[in-house]
Each structure stands twice: as C-alpha cells, then as structure tokens.
Symmetry: C2
Subunit: 213 residues, 2 copies
C-alpha cells in the first residue's frame, strides 16, 4: 500500500536510481491510477530500505553521470513476496466528480450546465487515457507480462465504461430536471428552503454591516 512496497516492486523490474523510479512511476502510474511519487518521498525511503538491508546501492557511471543504482537483496525479494501474498485491501477512491454529483441537488440544483461541463471534462480525460493505453499495450518497447496485459485490458474496459456513462449522464442532464428518485422526508425540499433562508440572512447581514460574532 505504501511507497515502500511500490519501490520494491519497481526495483523488482530492474535496478534503478531514485530518479529512474520517479520517471517509471510517472509513466506507469498514469495507467495504474496512482499519481506520481515525489522525490521527497523516494530518496529518504531508499535510504531506509538500504539500512534495513532490503536493497543495495551501487555507485556507477551511467552515460557520463554518476548515479546510485539500487537493486533488491535476497531479503528485499522475500519482503516483496510476503507483501504480495497478503490479501489486498479493497480500494477506496475519492472521486471528486462523484462527490459533487451527490451534493449537487441540494447545493446548486438550478445550474445543470456547470455539471455537464465537469462531465465533459471527465469524458475527455478518460478518452485521452484510453488512447494512451491502446498505444502503450502494443508499443513493442515496454515489457508487459501476461498479468500486466490482463490488468491493462481490464483498465481499458473500465475506461470505456466511464466514457459510456459520462455520455449517458450528460444526455440526461440536458433533459429537464427530474424530481428526486425517492425522498420520503421531503429532504430536498427542506434543503432548498434552508439554503434560501441562509442566503437571505447573509444578504441582510451584509446590507447592515453586521459582523458575525
């Protein structure tokens, strides 16, 4: 889950410097849905892993520049295996768009246009990622294992679903607003009222130069 394991994993592919790792994560991470990892995270962690004897430094020259290449030790390989054998925890995604979708009705029901823009942005980003993928998977430069391929195909399927749903939601948002699917306690009505009152009161305060507290 942590940077530590990602580093061990990347080093299992090939011996690398901190700089290499950063680049690798930048590229691979794009696919995998993790963003990049900062140097402030990588270098200290590499030191720690070396102290623990999980990786080993080798000071070499690489095209004229000196760099420190790390590789896994036996202990490192077994540590990596142990981690892989642990049952993975269920992923949690904090999708800002999804959250905004859930709060939209109470906070700004009158403005469907902005929400459509958000969805179009998302659609476009997913599409870009999908294309990036499609050219990656057969680029003949990168090593892709049997499982790596499966994982990528799965990712592509997910992206296609995302795009499909973006379209579907945009379509619906262009139609006139529907009443809530269900609302046994008239919550949305109340929320709208609370909002109106709160905004009015605020306006009143401003007009009279009232300071809160």
């Amino acid at each position: 889950m942590s940077v530590k394991h990602i580093l061990l994993g990347i080093l299992s592919w090939r011996p690398s410097s901190g700089y290499d790792i950063k680049l690798e994560v930048e590229v691979q991470g794009r696919q995998m849905g993790w963003g990049s990892i900062s140097y402030g995270s990588i270098y200290p962690q590499l030191k720690k892993l070396e102290e623990k004897g999980l990786i080993q430094a080798q000071y070499t020259e690489k095209s004229g520049r000196k760099t420190t290449i790390y590789d896994l030790t036996g202990k490192g390989w077994t540590e990596l295996s142990n981690w892989l054998a642990q049952p993975p925890s269920y992923p949690t995604t904090r999708d800002e768009l999804y959250m905004k979708l859930s709060f939209w009705e109470t906070a700004m029901p009158e403005d469907r246009h902005t929400l459509i823009q958000h969805l179009e942005l998302r659609r476009q980003e997913s599409l870009a990622l999908l294309e990036h993928f499609q050219q990656w998977i057969n680029n003949d430069r990168s090593a892709i294992s049997e499982m790596g391929k499966i994982a990528m195909e799965y990712d592509q399927a997910r992206l296609r679903l995302d795009i499909e749903w973006s379209d579907r939601i945009i379509e619906q948002l262009k139609q006139p607003a529907q009443p809530p699917h269900q609302d046994p306690n008239r919550l949305f009505e109340k929320a709208r009222h609370r909002r109106k009152c709160a905004l009015q009161q605020d306006g009143y305060k401003k007009r009279n130069g009232d300071q809160p507290q």
Copy 2:
C-alpha cells in the same frame, strides 16, 4: 477533495452533529468508495468551519441527550457552491490488487494460487457491495436525488464490470502460465535471474553467519 468539503456537503443534506456526520459518512461512504472519516478529523474541522463562519452551531436536546447540531450559513452555502463549480480533478485510485498484479510476474511467478485467492476475495467483496447497493437504491427510507440515482447506477455498472473481470482473470490464471505479452529486452528473464542470485547469496550469508554491514 478534503474533509472540509465533505462536511459542508453532508451538512447541506441536513443539519447534523459530529456524531451524525460520522455515521452518515460510514453509510454513504461505503457506496461512494471513500472510507469513513475519524472523529479526530471531524470535530476539530467543525470548530474551524464555525470560526470561519461557514457553519453555525446550535446546542439542542435530541431525545434526552444534548448535542451540538451544525448547519450551513449563507457563507457556507456559497463556499459549497464555489467548490462544486470547480472542475473536479481526475481520480487516482491506489488499488493494491492492481499493483500486486503488476509486480507478480517478477516477484513470484511460480505461485498463481495465491493470486487467484486475492481475486476471489475481491470478487466476493465487490459482489457484497453490489448487493448492498441494490437494496439501498429502493429502500424507500433514504433521500435519493435524480443525480444520486444516476451515480448509483453507474457504480453498479462498475461493480458488475469488476466482478466480470475477476471471473475472467481467475479463469485465465487457472490455465497454464503464458509467456509475456511482449518483452523486447528479456526483462522478465533477467528479473528471474536476479532474484535467484539474490536469494542464493542471502542463503549463503545466513549459512556462514555473515552479518550485512
């Protein structure tokens, strides 16, 4: 993206105490893919939001117990709207299973069984979540907006895809191992060799009581 906005969002649904919010996030968060938020995060943040004048406390009695109910102020509502109007950032998911899938080939290619177990666990978890959803969406107790419904349907579609793919991958893993999809530099071969050497060397050290460093 932060706790702050989630709190404002939840409070837009209905005025709530810190305790209420925790419960709400527990239930809703299940669906939405965010986990829960700790009290250590909620209460201090509520104080801060009150200081900033985004929310307002009201000390009341609720079925015999005194609680502090917060509600949005006008300023709070506009802050929430402003946030909603910001283009959402593309979500990053750190899926441990996905990562393990990518590292599996180099670190433990011989053990496909454990990986199958991971996938079966994932399949089962996704299925449970899907069922939870299906009963939620028509429970006639919760308020579900037009967009909330769409979001949930999208989630269900995603979960069904996840389950479908778990099955597909499990199926493939039960077949004999395939060679890499592509590997122009014989990376996987090399990795296997590096691993073997590293483990042997480690074994050697142990046999001779050699201390690292």
